[in-house]
């Protein structure tokens, strides 16, 4: 992550180009919205000048008509501007979210996020919004610049001396706040960090409700939460007071400016060379010019804050090419979404043999992990990996499947080097130790996007020994599973995950200790069904249960991340002390 994060301008430019035509339309509409007020000042001048010099000639009706026409014109451009603006800005944050999510899903699944889920949600929620906002503000910038230039020309033609003397301090304030802004950025980052901590804590709290309630720890967990909340309040308070000081400077600029105009115009007014109408134009434009400079200052500091947001989003990419964040993609906002095309099994997908060569993975800073793993799986074989807790069984499966990024080694599918991208259905499917289900129907959870084939679905459910449970559900496959599948029992979740695996008809089935959620009978049933169906099925299983060990063509014993013994059960019981301990543990 040593490379410099890309500049905010680069991101904004890319966002603008991707929807160039819509942006052009926006520029036109918002240009009108911001320049029409120039007319308002001129109308006021017309009113006061006429009243001062030829009061009886003043036609009030036409002045009022003028005021209303200008207002209606502005109102229409606002409506047009909104209509062009909403889809434009919505697509910006949608694109960023799309790119982030797509990238996260491409990452090794067991290590997809460098931060907690709560923090990642808060990044996906807030940071694309920042880019959306700042990109949108570029419209204001260009429109306001046009306004500024025209306003200065008009004022200069009225009175060049006052114009110069009043608008110079404005420029000074601009540069002042620019320097000041860098301090704001740091405060902003602090307050964002403290916010992420609060949301992270909330996420964990609600994810662990049962555990907290069991421990009766509500009050203590809340105290922890309140401490984080206080830290956030302090950070936000600093942030907002600094911002307000900035605002006050801008506010003062308008007032001081008006005061200066009065001061400078004193003699002119006495001598009638500077009219009240002139003063009205100055006052009207000054306010808007000050708003504009205030906006620029705000824009600059938001630019810097957006820089922080972009940095955070790039962190989620975890070292991948930064341009992935702003890669162009279609973001359709209406119409139907095309159906998925399932991956068809080709000849090269058919498993002959799978070879794991010198696979190694080490966790950061720890000695834990796996080393020098060499293993071959033949078609139709049943291989069991066993070992004590912490011996690296799950790590081995994950590293092999690319759910963790192995530091060394490779996996060969029929002798051809296979990347993580290849080791998914229809080649391999995997059921983890603690499977995750998603909110939705049972059918959706099993299919996860596969075409709905009732025969296949039923077969998968049968293989997973889930058919009895299914009969018990009033709504069958349409049963909605609550958040994270909690309405199902632990065993039902595991079996649903197994069905999800079976319905993909993979060449290689990988189970990580599925048996721990099943009772002995159910487990035996499951193995029977796996093999009754076809002797071609290849299985790789983590287990220390006897039915699996007895059935195994090959047992792999792991100790501290290394394979210490390989063979059939009878051999190993003779040759491996660790195997004997693992086997006999239940008898002690």
């Amino acid at each position: 992550m040593s490379s410099k994060p890309m500049s905010t301008w680069h991101v904004i430019r890319t966002m603008i180009w991707q929807q160039g035509a819509l942006y052009a339309l926006n520029t036109l509409m918002w240009g009108l919205v911001f320049t029409i007020p120039l007319l308002e000042g001129l109308i006021a001048k017309l009113f006061f000048d006429t009243l001062e010099k030829r009061p009886l000639e003043l036609n009030i009706t036409s002045i009022i008509a003028l005021v209303m026409v200008v207002a209606v014109a502005r109102a229409l451009s606002i409506v047009g501007g909104m209509a062009a603006d909403i889809p434009w800005r919505f697509r910006i944050s949608a694109l960023l979210r799309r790119n982030l999510l797509a990238h996260i899903l491409e990452r090794p699944g067991a290590r997809a996020l460098p931060v907690s889920v709560g923090e990642a949600i808060s990044t996906l929620r807030d940071d694309p919004g920042m880019v959306e906002e700042i990109s949108d503000w570029t419209l204001d910038v260009s429109s306001r610049v046009v306004f500024l230039v025209v306003a200065l020309i008009i004022l200069f033609s009225i009175n060049s001396r006052i114009t110069l003397l009043v608008f110079v301090p404005l420029a000074i304030v601009m540069s002042l706040t620019y320097f000041y802004g860098s301090k704001l950025e740091k405060l902003r980052e602090q307050s964002r960090e403290s916010t992420a901590k609060v949301t992270g804590a909330l996420g964990e709290m609600f994810g662990a409700v049962q555990g907290i309630q069991v421990a009766g720890a509500e009050a203590r967990v809340m105290a922890h939460f309140k401490r984080l909340g206080d830290a956030r309040r302090a950070a936000l308070l600093r942030d907002s007071v600094q911002t307000q000081v900035l605002n006050a400077i801008y506010g003062n600029v308008v007032q001081f400016g008006t005061g200066f105009i009065l001061l400078l115009a004193a003699s002119g007014m006495r001598e009638k060379t500077f009219t009240i109408g002139d003063f009205a134009v100055f006052a009207s434009y000054l306010e808007r010019v000050a708003h504009t400079t205030e906006f620029f200052g705000h824009f600059m500091s938001t630019m810097r804050q957006t820089g922080v947001s972009i940095k955070r989003m790039i962190e989620l990419l975890q070292g991948a090419n930064q341009n992935k964040l702003i890669e162009p993609h279609q973001i359709p906002l209406s119409g139907s979404t095309p159906d998925l095309e399932p991956r068809v099994k080709t000849e090269s997908d058919t498993l002959q043999h799978l070879e794991i060569r010198d696979l190694g993975f080490e966790f950061e800073g720890g000695t834990r992990g796996i080393k020098n793993i060499n293993l071959t799986l033949e078609r139709g074989s049943f291989t069991v990996i066993t070992g004590r807790i912490g011996s690296g069984k799950t790590t081995l499966l994950r590293a092999m499947l690319g759910l963790l990024e192995p530091q060394t080694g490779s996996v060969l599918w029929n002798g051809v080097c296979a990347s993580a991208r290849d080791l998914i259905p229809p080649r391999v499917a995997y059921t983890s130790q603690v499977p995750v289900l998603f909110s939705g129907t049972l059918r959706d959870n099993i299919l996860l996007g596969l075409p709905d084939d009732p025969k296949k679905l039923e077969q998968a459910v049968k293989n997973a020994v889930l058919e009895q449970d299914l009969l018990g559900f009033e709504f069958g496959f349409e049963t909605k599973i609550g958040s994270r599948g909690v309405k199902l029992s632990g065993g039902q979740v595991s079996r649903t995950a197994a069905a999800r695996m079976f319905v993909r008809e993979p060449e290689l089935l990988v189970f990580d200790d599925l048996s721990s959620a099943l009772d002995v009978n159910t487990e035996s049933q499951l193995w029977d069904r796996v093999f009754e169906h076809s002797s071609e099925t290849t299985c790789l299983v983590v287990s220390h249960r006897k039915p699996a060990l007895k059935r195994a063509d090959k047992i792999v014993v792991l100790e501290n991340g290394c394979i210490t013994a390989v063979g059939k059960l009878e051999e190993l019981l003779k040759t491996s002390g660790e195997m004997r301990r693992l086997w006999s543990g239940e008898l002690e």
């Binding site: 009243l51 409506v79 909104m82 799309r98 997809a112 720890a217 309040r233 994270r484």
Partner: protein, 600 residues
């Protein structure tokens, strides 16, 4: 003039706002008063400035002394400066008050949710609750820190302008008052149109990011199921339902701006229309004409601000109704009066218990209709203090539910559960949960230190006790090897499922429950580690009542009694010895298959 402050027929739930304000602002009275003072003076100075300008103009028109004009300008500048200082002070106080208040509200909400029963949590993702507790309350923070105060300031300014104008000339005052009232009415009208849309936007946000959160927690499953494209497809589908809501609410916000523009044009027209004839008839000076023009423009500020803040209110409105809705969701478990349970083992009794899960918490109305699925039927047994009950049954036979009932996560629809003869419902919830503890195969860990994870953030638990407990479970070597030992941060990445389960046991050792439920608690352990655990469990169970749920017979051989469940009904219940010796019992049959498996 009061009608301006409280426009009739505006459905701002004023009482709700003030109800919320009152509770959280009371402890901060001093800050609130200071803020109000700053605001009051700031408004006064804003009203003063146009008067100075008028004085200046009239003096200049009459050809008055240059020094007078300079003095007037100086006073103008001084007043402006002072006003900005007051503004900063007011903001400081209002932000502090606002965040203190909403922090309290957030904590209240979080605590409330935390105490709600599991049927509530089952129906919601953690991501959704984050959005409710933090997202919604943050919009309320805007309400607390800006709206109530700035809205108040702006209303004051508005009233001030109207009063000063009336003093100037009653005709001007009257026409501007009528204009202001009409403007407020129109703006309030437009505002009310928007509320449902803002609510819809927040709801869409919550479901959208709830979806994102689920996907982010399931990356391993998505990836290994080859479901990446499927998830991306649902992402796009969700965008398509989200967008129209955003469109509508933003267009409505835009229409509010349009209405405001038109209203302001009316205001200027009115000022011109009223002031010009008065000047033409020599009733007022040219300086006063400018004063009227200036005050009308000054009126724009509060009206514009009030418009903006009403827009914020739209958001806060939706937030408030959702917050109050959440606060009104009460736990179905009602605290009893309290029970006097001793620290020692307690007798557990189920009396004709029937139970089924209810689906009545439905955030999504399209969800299935309410129905009750019988999970437990007519469960009755008595487990004497200090005895161990082995609970057997297929997955889905109701074992876990039985454990949850004893923890009082739910109340049974019929029947009663008693501890030492006292019904659970007549005790306090925290009493039940401090006497009964549950270890499951799902271990919930926090991103916090090992110490905090084990003690559940209880600082009174000493390190000595923690180390002793760790030693009991053979975890002390592992912890000692970690770089910061007890202060090491736990994360699921560097912890195997088995280790996590041992940590869960450690938690129980640190507490002193009377009844222990082990729900498949050792299922993720390998036999060698399990043997080590046996010792620790033996110690743990001494002098306590226990219910052990397991698929494996071996795990429950230590039990005094056996209960076998099938489809939620009691299939067999009795003493382990008697059932074991009766060759026709289901238990003996199970034991034979089990032992065969062991011996083969």
């Amino acid at each position: 003039m009061n009608t301006v402050v409280k426009p009739p027929r505006v459905q701002i739930p004023v009482r709700q706002y003030f109800g919320l304000l009152e509770e959280y602002l009371k402890p901060q009275r001093a800050s609130v008063i200071l803020m109000a003072v700053c605001l009051l003076f700031s408004v006064g100075l804003q009203l003063l400035n146009p008067q100075i300008v008028r004085f200046f103009m009239d003096t200049a028109q009459k050809g008055g002394a240059q020094s007078e004009l300079v003095k007037a300008s100086a006073v103008f500048i001084g007043a402006s400066f002072f006003q900005q200082v007051l503004n900063v002070a007011a903001t400081y106080f209002s932000t502090r008050v606002g965040w203190t208040a909403t922090n309290a509200l957030r904590a209240n909400l979080a605590e409330h949710c935390l105490k709600l029963d599991l049927s509530f949590h089952k129906a919601r993702t953690p991501g959704e609750l984050i959005e409710r507790v933090d997202g919604d309350v943050s919009t309320l923070a805007a309400f607390f820190s800006n709206l109530s105060i700035h809205l108040g300031g702006n209303v004051l300014l508005l009233l001030g302008v109207l009063v000063v104008m009336t003093l100037e000339d009653w005709r001007i005052g009257a026409s501007l008052s009528v204009f202001s009232i009409l403007a407020m009415l129109v703006l309030a009208r437009v505002r009310n149109l928007g509320t449902p849309y803002w609510k819809a936007v927040r709801e869409q946000n919550a479901t959208f990011f709830g979806f994102i959160g689920e996907q982010l927690s399931g990356t391993e499953d998505i990836r290994s199921s080859g479901a990446t494209q499927y998830v991306m497809r649902s992402f796009f589908e969700r965008l398509k339902t989200w967008y129209p809501v955003v469109w509508r609410s933003n267009m409505l916000g835009g229409s509010m701006w349009v209405v405001f523009e038109i209203l302001m044009a009316f205001g200027t027209a009115l000022a011109f229309g009223v002031a010009a004839p008065l000047y033409q008839n020599k009733v007022i000076s040219l300086g006063t004409v400018y004063l009227i023009y200036q005050y009308t423009r000054l009126l724009a500020e509060p009206l514009d601000q009030i418009r903006n803040q009403l827009q914020e209110l739209q958001r806060a409105d939706a937030g408030i109704s959702r917050v109050t809705e959440l606060l009104a969701t009460s736990s179905k478990l009602i605290d009893g009066q309290g029970a006097n349970w001793s620290e020692r083992a307690l007798e557990v009794e189920f009396r004709g218990v029937h139970f089924g899960y209810e689906d009545d918490v439905k955030p999504d109305p399209s969800e299935q209709p309410e129905h009750l699925e019988k999970v437990l039927e007519n469960i009755s047994f008595k487990l004497e203090a200090g005895k161990v009950l082995g609970l057997l049954g297929r997955t889905g036979s109701g074992k876990t539910t039985l454990a949850r009932l004893l923890m009082r996560f739910y109340d049974p629809q019929h029947g009663e559960i008693r501890l030492n003869g006292i019904p659970l419902t007549s005790a306090k919830l925290d009493q039940v949960r401090s006497r009964v503890t549950l270890v499951t195969q799902n271990v919930e860990l926090f991103q916090a230190s090992i110490r905090e994870n084990l003690s559940f953030f209880d600082p009174s638990v000493s390190d000595t006790r923690i180390w002793a407990a760790l030693e009991e479970l053979g975890l002390h070597d592992w912890v000692r090897r970690l770089p910061r030992q007890l202060d090491a941060e736990l994360s699921s990445a560097n912890l195997s499922a088995g280790e996590a389960q041992l940590l869960a046991f450690t938690r129980v050792f640190l507490r002193n429950p009377s009844v222990i439920i082990l729900d498949e608690a050792s299922s993720r352990l390998d036999p060698a580690t399990e043997a080590l655990l046996e010792r620790a469990v033996t110690k743990l169970l001494t002098g306590r009542t226990a219910i052990i749920i397991a698929h494996r017979l071996q795990t429950i051989l230590r039990s005094d009694k056996i209960l076998i469940l099938e489809d939620g009904k009691m299939l067999e219940y009795g003493s382990t010895k008697i059932l074991g010796n009766d060759p026709n019992s289901r238990f003996a049959q199970l034991r034979r298959t089990g032992l065969e498996e062991v011996l083969a």
